[in-house]
Amino acid sequence: MKIVNFLLIVIFLFSACVKIENPVIQNVQPDIYPDYKSVTVPRNIAPLTFTVKGTKTVVADFIIGGNVEFRAIGKGEKGLEISEKKWRSLLDKSAGRNFSVKVFVQNFENEWIEYKPFEIKVAKETIDAYVSYRLIKPGYEQLDRMGLYQRNITTFDEKPIIENSQLEAKDNYGCVNCHSYRNYNADTMMYHGRFVDAGTVFVKGNDTKKVNITIKDVGKASYPYWHPTAPYIAFSMNETRQIFHVFDKSRITAFDNTSDLMIYDFANDEVILDDRFIGEEYYETFPAWSPDGDMLYFSRADYCGSLPENNDKLRYGIYRASFDGETAKLGEVECVVDEHLTNKSQPFARVSPDGKYLSYTECGYGTFPMSQNDSDLKMIDLQTLSPIDIDVVNSDEVEGYHAWSSNARWLVFGSRRLDGMYARLFFAYIDENGVAHKPFLMPQKTADFDVLRMKAYNVPEFSKNELLISNYQMKRIQATEAESINVKYQ
């Protein structure tokens, strides 16, 4: 036994030591994957594992003020193996300033190359520890295995909230979507189940229920947003369809045959409808409350003829209406971003939790930015309604669904910039002056993790805490019969 222990220690020590002999010095920064050069990260993020593709071994020295804090070593394929303890200490020491990384690589001819160091800035502010998302194949018609997941971004833990493998029926898979938390608190959440055990599942601490929020001849609840204080959720009701481009690079898109707004009173299981937001004159979608709950923001497009023929003519602008929490009545509608002026579509908007900024996606047309390469994130100052340049977060590929962290310093968004097909999550720092910093890919245990994962990350949502209900409990809730609701017109 002693011999075995001794051998294990020897093997460990041997594998942990790499001797870098006579490196060739290159006066350029390394081409690392994922690109973490000059990014700004929160002080509580998981280790940024990276590699240099096409190499045998990667070594990185993490340096603060000229002192090497620690060295990480890894294989070219999987990337650095960074000790979480050392990483955490590094971030604590460098909060509010930079640390630098010097990279050495060994190529397959066993030659060592030393690169010019690059910097990583550590923000003073932390980020909400959890991000929830849907993992789904960026496919076309049929559903495959998919699910909702919660990831602890301070570590690498990912847990299923619910997976459609749990909702298997004969010759059919269920679909789960539109997960949403109230005030970044995972104790209060909802999501929709479709096809198998259909209904909207609500969780509030230990209280759970499943509701069928479908209004005959009007629509069923789709994209949600919880009111921050009152017992309401604003929903859009979308009848979504897909189309496949014959020649366009984006291959696929979606459109809403109809889309309207409603407010769901979850205390009384009642749906409140306003005639102004129902009907064919406009398409309304993606509602979002202001942080104080006094204003409802949403995207709206004028009817422009039958769809999908006229989908490329459809432009969404961003509008808002005041809201009275006592009477649950919406006030006058006013335009925030005018689609007629931009001649672009702005289908998805979110207000920062400090109420200062409105971020939104902008694309050529329609309501489905994730399919259009020109889709970018934009931001305006809500005081002046003037645009703020955040182009540093954008790429030539799609940037789409996004969400703010609870301290309004971090944006998480889906982007297809890595391969043009599979959306991955990126985090961008927005400092106190509203200046956006270069975003970074959500760190994974190995550098090739997202290359090998054949699913796209969809609809990211921050939360401060972990969901306490297990996916097995969640399945049981979804298996119960859905309660019906009352409908009230205003």
Partner: protein, 565 residues
Amino acid sequence: MKKRIVEFLFLGILIVCHFVFWQTMHYGYLNYAYANAYFDTSFDLFRNAFVYCHMMQYVENFLLAFFRWSWLGSFILLLPVVAVYFIVRDIFKRLNFEAFKMFAFFSAVVMMISQHFVHFFLQKSLVVLFIITAIYFHIVLKDRRFRFFLCLGLAVVFLFLSKLEIAVLAVSCLTTEMLLSKDKQRYVLSVLYLCVAVVSFVFYVIEIPKVPLFRVEMPIQIILQISFVLLLVVLSKIRNLNVAFGKKTLLLLYAFILVSMGLTFVPNRKLEEKEFYARLDMALLNDDIDEVLALAKNAKIGDADDWYPYTFYALAKKGQLAQSLFQYKVDVSNFLPEALPTFANKYSVLSICFYKNLGLLNEAMHQAFQMGISCEREDNFRSLCLLVDLNIARGDYRLVEKFLAKLEQTLVHTDFVRSRRAMIPTAKSEFAEVDFSEYLYINKDQFMNISYALFLAKNDSQFVKDYFLCSLLLTGEYDVFCNSYKELYTADCRKRVYAEALVMARDMGIFTTDFSVSAKVEQDWYVFKSILSNQMISRQEKEKRLLAFRNTWWHYYLQEYEHLF
């Protein structure tokens, strides 16, 4: 000694026949099984299999990956057959049924039958092998505690391997234990087995899919094989059957074994059908068009209409579509890949090749992607390989790299990955992206208007032109055909189908441009017209005479759009 030789001989026959059956007669199906499987070394795949008790499928997929080489697939299929033979033979021996050892062949035969007739042949074979192995341990192991822990451990492992088949395992082991063990404490073990079975059943019903009982498939072969072994155990308690057979009885037994072995190779219509389409797909992927035509010509499966789309595709690839289209009983419903029967339907290799050759790479991608999704696994090998090739054609090398990285994790595609990586720096898109500003789309629920798309794309390949013009003729869009023909070709027409259509169009006043066709076509048209306009003969007689022209566009037009005459 003689018995041993006979046994050895029979085993040899069984091994050779089984191997030859798969390797030479059903290599297409082995390839199909490989193509639709998926295995990689990722944690995600393992986690899903483990958490949702699909580990047996996981193991099956691992083995199916090696079916990429049909000889290896045949060998892997042979292993459980031989293993079950030796295990059952040893059970006979240990239960003092020496004379009955030859009966072990029946167990192997049943497994061979299950492989030939059950779709998920490998998984079921593994289930049987696992259960019989557990029973074997009960018989062989004398130490109560060791048996206790080993078999209980196996039962727990089995829960993660194969869901409800654990009930069969539990009942089998329980029966064996009750019958064979002299230990009074055997009841403890029995209760534990029952607990494992009940707990796993409850766990499965409550926690995993919604309606598990609908999903339970317990083929008769499994029941038969397990019952056979259990029967042995029961018999061993009833009486000592260690008797010697007479010569005649032995000969009868041998004959019976040989016949039953022969019966396993009786043609299975479903398997033959799958084999046929699998070979067609293999030929398509190898771009062996002559092989496609040869297979379609010599096929004896179902109706020829079913595989017409393969034939028309092959003819179009050879540039012969417009020459010989009406030599087949073609119509709108069997012309395009969508017409394939259920087994080879949507998202088929043919559809992907078809759209790729039309230059509609988005639609080819759509089909390939859906092929991966519709296979009930996380992915499939064929879909990934096709996506690599399609994206090489599209020039989208980022996606090529991604799919190749994934294939690298599958253990068996090293050569494929190497060969495609070598193409990356130099590969040029054969079908360049069309610079196309018009908003053109395909709706989810409707088949795309190919003709329209192609016409707009102005793809210049012969394949596209032929499919475009022939589909116009088949759908009766005569005006569009004539106008398109003018745009696509000069006046002279050498292709029989087009010549027939143009001659008729000229007489109907639709097509006025000068053109020349062969004298034979003109002559045939003259005869056809004269029969048609002859008022002196009866309708039956007319139809009889027109039969001579059944392979012409005129006859098709007359049949489909008779009211226009």
